[in-house]
């Protein structure tokens, strides 16, 4: 492939990704889509990690963060988890950090789930206060993509196609 053709392919691919991300952020309806909350600073929180210690969201500034509100009893959440493990594996060294916020009432089932699914990203136990700060987590799953500057770029409500996440993550990693 000549340099000119290669450049055209790269340009078209980038354009497609930009259009795609724009579409996700402005589409409504269905169980997956964005809301009007984009481009605001992600509310900071400090919550206990499942494996001990505390996790402070703002300490991940400089990374692209996928903040996933989920629960062990939520079937769509269970289906998404293996894909998140793959994404963390694939893009972790490029600056992606996935953080799971469990909305389970107790950490016990979360610990078992963490082992069962061999989760490779931190999980914290969520609270109603944190849920409210993010506009209310009144259905699961809900995922927020946060850019390197700590701003919410995309919100997905409900089960989301893993390939959409990957496109958005790749876009944010590339553009930040």
């Amino acid at each position: 492939m000549s340099g000119r053709k290669l450049g055209l392919v790269v340009a078209l691919t980038l354009a497609a990704v930009i259009v795609g991300v724009y579409s996700y952020r402005h589409s409504r309806g269905g169980r997956s889509g964005s809301t009007g909350q984009e481009h605001r600073e992600a509310p900071d929180f400090t919550l206990p990690r499942l494996d001990g210690g505390q996790l402070c969201l703002s300490s991940y500034r400089g990374k692209v963060v996928l903040l996933d509100f989920w629960a062990t009893w939520c079937v769509p959440c269970r289906e998404e988890t293996p894909h998140f493990v793959e994404l963390q594996q694939k893009y972790g060294d490029k600056g992606l950090q996935i953080i799971g916020v469990s909305m389970d009432d107790s950490p016990d089932p979360v610990r078992a789930f963490y082992q069962q699914f061999r989760m490779n990203y931190p999980v914290v136990m969520g609270t109603a206060e944190v849920g409210s700060a993010y506009g209310g987590v009144l259905g699961l799953p809900i995922a927020f993509l946060i850019d390197r500057d700590g701003r919410i770029c995309v919100k997905h409500l409900g089960a989301t196609d893993p390939s959409l996440f990957e496109k958005e993550i790749a876009f944010l990693l590339h553009s930040s």
Partner: protein
């Protein structure tokens, strides 16, 4: 040989996942005669008629953020503890008491809590129990529609 074994393991794992998923998603088996829509429940609650006892059988964290005014949290009915708490809460009630259970944690067909809760009420002999039909989740189908909402305990 190794390749065949790997394929076989993948097939078995997929089958187990499918079976477990189906086991968790039986909300669709609740008869439509026992369902009540959000708008109908609001009308009932605002009318002068008999007020139902409304019980949330899902997540406490979600309940604290938003719930139906006057409703009580009894626990996730997908767990034995939640079912025990539900039975304890209703055991002394007349069996014709107007009850409504709801969750709204997940899309209707994925809710793990409503079917066990409905089964428990049926097993206890309740004849006027209803299940609130929430298609997507409590935020979308109740809060965002402007229906009455309370926060906290």
């Amino acid at each position: 040989m190794m390749k065949n074994e790997t394929v076989l393991r993948l097939v078995i794992a997929s089958a187990l996942i499918l079976i477990s998923s189906n086991a968790l998603c039986q909300t669709g088996a609740i008869p439509t005669s026992r369902l009540i829509n959000p708008e109908d429940l609001v009308k009932v609650m605002q009318s002068g008629k008999e007020k139902p006892l409304v019980l949330q059988v899902g997540s406490h964290t979600l309940f604290l953020q938003a719930h139906i005014p006057g409703s009580e949290y009894v626990g996730a009915a997908s767990t034995e503890l939640g079912l025990q708490q539900l039975r304890k809460r209703v055991e002394s009630l007349p069996r014709n008491r107007f009850l409504v259970i709801y969750c709204g944690c997940c899309p209707w067909n994925h809710c793990p809590n409503l079917k066990p809760a409905d089964d428990a009420l049926q097993a206890l002999g309740f004849t006027n129990g209803k299940v609130l039909y929430i298609a997507d989740n409590f935020g979308t189908n109740w809060v965002d529609r402007g229906y009455p909402t309370a926060k906290g305990e």
